[in-house]
């Protein structure tokens, strides 16, 4: 089993909590796999995990759904941003 720590930013933290951990069989998986696992474990996040406007960030770089992420990397999900 491999442990993935995931940070949730902005309003996503209201739906679950600011950081959560996910235990998966594989030591690495795609961002798409991670979205599916997160949605299954936390149904309140399912709609956001299916939303392409919610982006993934791994080790401080915004990545696509095909990106392979390893347990232990800094993973975060970003809802639409709003500065100014």
């Amino acid at each position: 089993m491999a442990l993935y720590t995931i940070e949730l930013c902005g309003r996503l933290a209201d739906r679950a909590c600011a950081a959560l951990t996910l235990e998966l069989d594989a030591a690495s998986c795609s961002v798409a796999d991670l979205r599916a696992a997160l949605a299954a474990a936390h149904p309140s996040l399912a709609a956001d995990m299916a939303n392409a406007r919610v982006r993934a960030c791994v080790d401080e770089v915004i990545v696509k759904d095909t990106f392979m992420v390893a347990a232990g990397q800094a993973i975060a999900f970003f809802p639409p941003v709003s500065g100014g």
């Binding site: 930013c9 770089v61 800094a74 639409p80 500065g83 100014g84």
Partner: protein
């Protein structure tokens, strides 16, 4: 000639007047300076009172996103200098939240660069904005108007 670009992510209040004075001192020779200051609103769009505004940021990604926007502005416009300051953390109504300034030999270029910086900061800088009021908390996302403003520069 490459423009001077200075970007700050501020976690405490800043003085836009002092920032503008400092920017003008360094812009000597350019002839035109345009600046913009955004202030925290005391009311939401529907008139409810806002007690505080909180801007959440994320590690190095927020500052990197601000830098990328400022660098793009420097590459796109014939500016001598660009300054961007953006607050993070919890703010009271009336407090400055963002400051941008651009200097150029020509005023229209300076106006455009400041306009461009703000349109992109509103829609692309990595921040999440939450209004806390008596009725509870509300997350703010960019509006369709913000997206249209951003699209003008495509």
């Amino acid at each position: 000639m490459s423009a001077r670009v200075d970007v700050t992510l501020a976690d405490a209040p800043f003085d836009p007047g002092a920032e503008l004075s400092a920017f003008c001192m360094n812009a000597a020779g350019d002839g035109a300076v345009v600046s913009f200051v955004g202030l925290t609103r005391g009311q939401t769009g529907d008139g409810a009172e806002v007690a505080t505004l909180t801007l959440e940021s994320y590690r190095g990604v927020t500052l990197a996103s601000m830098r990328a926007i400022a660098d793009d502005a420097a590459a796109r416009f014939a500016v001598g200098a660009i300054r961007v300051i953006h607050r993070a953390g919890t703010m009271q109504p009336g407090e400055p939240i963002v400051f941008v300034a651009a200097s150029s030999p020509h005023r229209r270029v300076a106006f455009e660069a400041a306009d461009y910086l703000m349109d992109r900061l509103k829609t692309e800088a990595i921040f999440w904005k939450r209004e806390d009021g008596v009725d509870g908390a509300r997350w703010i996302e960019p509006t369709d108007d913000d997206a249209r403003d951003r699209a003008r520069w495509e």
